[in-house]
Symmetry: C2
Subunit: 315 residues, 2 copies
């Protein structure tokens, strides 16, 4: 039974988990969907009333009946490395590859269907609330009046992007930004704005969930720091305990969202409350593991290595 890892060639985080799988003698196939067709070959066979499929890459063959689990790490676009790439070739290859993998009875970290939904930030806030996390008051609106009322009610608010920075070249940094109630909100009518109550924080928290295993790391914040992703505060990530109610909420979030892996970001306020900021279903863990020594890659490997099958036709 083989673990399939969908990722591009350069992926040190995947390397860490692959090393742990090798230690345990678990067969692994590493595949970049960009290499189909070409370096990798696929065949899915719905020919005898049943289903089987095969992937061949680097001289190895993986049968869908022997598929233990799939780790969707950083896969390339299907057919991106083809001799003559086109949009249509990508669409056909995506159908062939993922259609075959969806047909297999296997466990996913994470199933693309659940991953896609989990990327919706407003939905994350709702699921976080239903899971019992503390969620900072937030509004997403195209109505300038609503944005202004929100800023007047909460005074210190931050404005964020929901989808991430614009896909421009050169890349544009878009840090979370603090604004006051007197800002000009008229531009909200031209594009939805996400406003959130500013949480003055004494630390950033990263909670990494790997199936049932939780790892919490904490990094002290510089006074008045708004977005920890930019600038160096001199502090580093340190392991911290996972409070019981956070553990319960983390498990509930994974259940509601159908995820096997998730990386949560929280702001810890002066009273020690962890405020949910976001949940990244594909969040990196390499930097946390390197700074804290938390065995996250090993936990990923253990989850992928399990022998439990998914029920037939389910995900």
């Amino acid at each position: 039974m083989t673990v399939l890892i969908l990722t591009s060639e350069q992926d040190v985080t995947a390397d860490m988990a692959v090393a742990k799988l090798h230690e345990r003698g678990v067969p692994v196939m590493r595949l970049d969907p960009a290499d189909i067709p070409g370096k990798a070959v696929l065949s899915a066979d719905y020919a005898h009333g049943d289903f089987d499929g095969h992937l061949s890459a680097n001289g190895h063959v993986l049968s869908m009946g022997g598929l233990r689990s799939v780790w969707v790490r950083r896969p390339g676009e299907p057919a991106a490395h083809a001799a003559h790439p086109t949009q249509w070739l990508t669409a056909e290859t995506r159908q062939a590859l993922y259609g075959m993998l969806y047909s297999a009875s296997t466990r996913w970290m994470n199933h693309p269907r659940n991953a896609d939904q989990a990327r919706y930030k407003p939905w994350q806030l709702r699921i976080a609330h239903l899971s019992g996390f503390a969620v900072p008051p937030t509004v997403i609106t195209t109505a300038p009046r609503v944005a202004q009322q929100f800023a007047q009610e909460y005074r210190d608010v931050v404005v964020k992007s929901a989808s991430g920075p614009p896909p421009d070249d050169p890349e544009l940094a878009l840090p979370t930004t603090l604004i006051g109630p007197d800002a000009d909100f008229s531009a909200v009518a031209a594009g939805p704005a996400l406003l959130q109550r500013y949480i003055p924080k004494r630390a950033d928290i990263r909670l990494t969930c790997v199936g049932p295993r939780l790892f919490a790391a904490r990094k002290r914040a510089a006074p008045g720091q708004v977005d920890g992703r930019y600038g160096d505060t001199g502090y580093s990530w340190e392991t911290t305990e996972v409070p019981d109610r956070i553990a319960k909420s983390g498990h509930e979030y994974l259940t509601l969202s159908g995820l096997a892996y998730a990386a949560f970001d929280f702001a810890e306020d002066e009273e020690g409350v962890w405020w949910f900021l976001e949940c990244n279903q594909g969040g990196q863990f390499g930097f946390v593991e390197l700074e804290t020594g938390q065995p996250i890659a090993e936990a990923v490997a253990l989850w992928l290595a399990q022998d439990r099958r998914a029920p037939e036709g389910r995900w």
Copy 2:
């Protein structure tokens, strides 16, 4: 409690269901996501430990607490009608709109998460088989040798696109095409090919499933006809009975795929067996209703009008 229909302005099929909803006095909001921001305004509020949201369009306001159901018909791309459309504005608007709708406790026809997966043709074949439908032997491969062996085993095979015709301009028709075992299969290495045993058919069958209600229509095929979508055979759609085992399989398919609506295409062979060809989760029904008089729009309206709520946080 209001029914929300996501579709573009020109949509006569939606008009048919809207008329039925009006007859029953069920409030309806019709919205094209392309009109946000601009003609339509949205606000989602995660501000008081709970969630509420509002959509305003054409002078009407719909609260998420008053959302009965969502029909995803033919929605435009979010922000497509904006004064200055960009990829990023579309991404932000998609997050705001669908993130808000996913946060609501409502029923979907069909939830985009399930619809996306249901578009994978190879997966359809697997789910069809698990549901008990007869599925023609099929292979999807990038290996010329596998394609050739398949053609030699089954002699008369058709080749199809999995993702649909290439998105070229002018549009390229890509009918299902009959090929023999002596064809040159070398090009399969450059892009996945879907080959299927040719089913000599005496009729095309369209099975439309609307929640638990099933409507079958039959159109006689011209001798030797391969793809019923092209050319006029002179025959028209007529209502036919839904065999019990087909009904059972139809219900099972909808359950396994999480769909509330689906349009199935079958080929009826000389022995009367219905062979599963594909299942279109967004398949048109207007033409079938017009030719057969089957009350499909009314069934859609009745499904959308139900008062049953979805469980909190589920879809």
